[in-house]
Symmetry: C2
Subunit: 409 residues, 2 copies
């Protein structure tokens, strides 16, 4: 079975029209006006094509193709229409467009289905307010306290909820853990350059990396930046700087399978004329194996202590929060590979270094995630680009995989 | 002539009673209630001892001993009663107490004076609102725009002015550039440890260091901290960190006569999961020689370019503002030295690495500044300490120097 390329293109264009930036990217943070406009465009597509539309308390928006059996489980395909501020066109929107094309292709095939097919657009995958909000709500992983400390300011979150006609109670009530799901499939851009640099068509995701966050605070003595000789200072800035360089070196030399980032530092008192008594690094590390993450954490903890001692400082290496690594279903990984091979496409099995809604859907049913190449590895910017040929390849693999799962149901 | 040690001690205690912290320091930022209470205590001392009291539009508070000649110039001695937040007891208050003891000693000596003697407490030496506000106002170096962008928030400055009964117009009108001054003398704690570590009693200040401020901004590319391999990043945090370490190394190795400080860094976007595209270092450097400061600036500029190149970044080395170095009067330096030697005290000539009101008074008349040792070099904290014996030595040198200047008048 083949997808309809022209129709797929038209769907993709329709779903990436709202919130377009002059640079050619998308600026539609979750529940912003541009994001709600994109959802409206998707709802129109659903209605025009005669599918049932469903929304839930978390704002997730679905197109449904029901089979004859009212007790049948659902095969769910999806991704997200929100973007990071000034993000790209392919991150999320490609997955929703491809899932919708699969739905259209399955309907038009006249196949007798023994499962329902649902195409879902999840709310706030990018975490403008709460990371992976929609899929966490669906998989019963969201608590009231998660909604009380959103990433943006709480007032902005309340306003955004009101704009979208949502409530916190609705989000907390959106869990679907009692439903029967056949599987969840998602197509996404890689957002890295492993596929492109190895000349691979399709990435089969083995699992999502675990994400571990820390606050690493170096403490010295505030002193007068004029009268205190440099060699007599206990300068927290020096410890934090040495540590940030060490983080990079340790990952490059000993943990090439992991990544780490010092994305921010805050200094106190933070003045020109006072030696900083405190410098805090925001540290994040990612690994597809929990054990490796713990090894890296140990190595970085040692490096922090070493950097502190070198400048007469103390250091506090504080664990903040973690998203544990999660495996994708082995059977679906295999089906993705054989489906791609049947289409003459090359595959590579690789971990995802970013979080995706698939990791939450994996708690409800077998879940699989496939990648298509990102040119130059760029993502979360207007430079994000995937060739249309790659998009078609990905959509075709998604359809073929869905067909194989439906046959085996 | 000898000072009255007991009386000097009583004056010092009276001037360091207000704003005392539990740790034994002083917390009286300029124009705070505690600072105004200290000024009130000083005004009482002036009145009780029968001196004329004078205040000006900048809030500077003076005790006057007038000589017979209404056209006579003034010998001014002073320092400041304000402190940094949670500062120490000796910074400023010692200088006012010593100046007042010199005034009392000169009056009690029955000497016939041919100059007026003024003891002045300058407003906001520490720059809670505007650095060296009082002495800049007196020496005609303050502009309306300096008052429109105070260091604290503008509303707080307005409130503080109202609390002290001051106005911006009054500050701008406090210039005394048309008056005749014989000289200005100030005693201060060193706030460093050069005197203590060399076992010297009295520091004779050759001049104030110049202070040069820069914003050094490293720019790379924001990218996903999960999907972007570490070796492919253009991480601004790495450039800024490498630069901060270089600043220290360059000063230690090649500019031991200078100091430099990276007191703050700000990152953008400053998130755990995004590689920073921008990192800005707040850089300050100080040197007693303008030429040396320019050499150090050149060396640090090169280091910034090197740090940027190393991580594929660009860098902008932006000059912000400068306080030029200022020499203390050679004659007064000599008088300080001979006065100290006549008292059996050892001296050392050294630049001041911090700013002082004497640098502004130097624009009006010959100005001199003497230091007494700071135990351990601590300052701007409750740990600030100078032995009472050192305080007495400093006050005695101040009196002896004043006497020698009066004789030579």
């Amino acid at each position: 079975m083949r997808i309809d390329e022209k129709r797929f293109r038209a769907t993709f264009e329709a779903l990436t029209a709202d919130g377009r930036t002059p640079e050619g990217g998308l600026n539609r943070p979750a529940l912003s006006r541009a994001h709600l406009a994109a959802r409206h465009s998707f709802a129109e597509l659903i209605a025009v094509n005669g599918f049932a539309l469903r929304t839930d308390g978390a704002g997730n928006l679905s197109a449904w193709l029901h089979c004859a059996d009212p007790e049948a489980p659902s095969l769910v395909l999806g991704s997200h229409l929100d973007s990071v501020p000034h993000g790209g066109r392919f991150d999320g929107a490609l997955g929703v467009a491809a899932a919708f094309e699969v739905l259209l292709s399955l309907r038009d095939s006249g196949k007798r289905l023994s499962t329902n097919i649902e195409v879902i657009d999840f709310t706030d995958e990018e975490g403008t307010w709460v990371s992976l909000l929609g899929s966490r709500a669906v998989s019963g992983q969201i608590l009231a306290r998660d909604l009380d400390k959103p990433r943006g300011n709480p007032e902005g979150f309340e306003e955004a909820l009101a704009r979208a006609g949502l409530t916190k109670a609705g989000i907390l009530g959106a869990s679907r853990v009692d439903e029967a799901f056949r599987a969840y499939l998602e197509l996404h851009i890689e957002q890295g350059e492993r596929l492109e640099s190895s000349g691979t068509d399709i990435g089969v995701v083995s699992g999502m990396v675990g994400i571990f966050m820390y606050l690493v605070t170096f403490r010295g003595t505030a002193s007068h930046a004029g009268t205190t000789p440099v060699k007599r200072r206990r300068d927290a800035a020096q410890g934090a700087s040495a540590f940030a360089l060490q983080v990079r070196q340790i990952v490059l030399k000993h943990f090439p399978d992991c990544v780490a980032n010092v994305g921010n530092m805050t200094f106190a008192p933070g003045l020109y004329n006072v030696v900083a008594h405190s410098a805090t690094c925001f540290l994040e590390l990612r690994s597809s194996e929990g054990a490796r993450a713990r090894q890296l954490e140990t190595a970085l903890d040692k490096a922090a202590v070493y950097s502190a001692k070198r400048f007469g400082l103390t250091v506090d290496f504080k664990f903040l929060e973690a998203v544990e690594p999660r495996k994708m279903d082995f059977g679906i990984q295999h089906t993705f590979r054989t489906a791609a091979e049947s289409l003459g496409l090359t595959t590579r099995t690789l971990p995802s270094m970013a979080g995706h809604d698939a990791q939450n859907m994996a708690l409800l049913c077998p879940a699989g995630l496939a990648f298509v190449p990102s040119a130059g590895g760029y993502s979360h910017s207007a430079r994000e680009y995937t060739s249309w040929n790659s998009c078609v390849n990905g959509c075709q693999v998604l359809l073929e995989t869905a067909c194989r799962l439906l046959v085996s149901s």
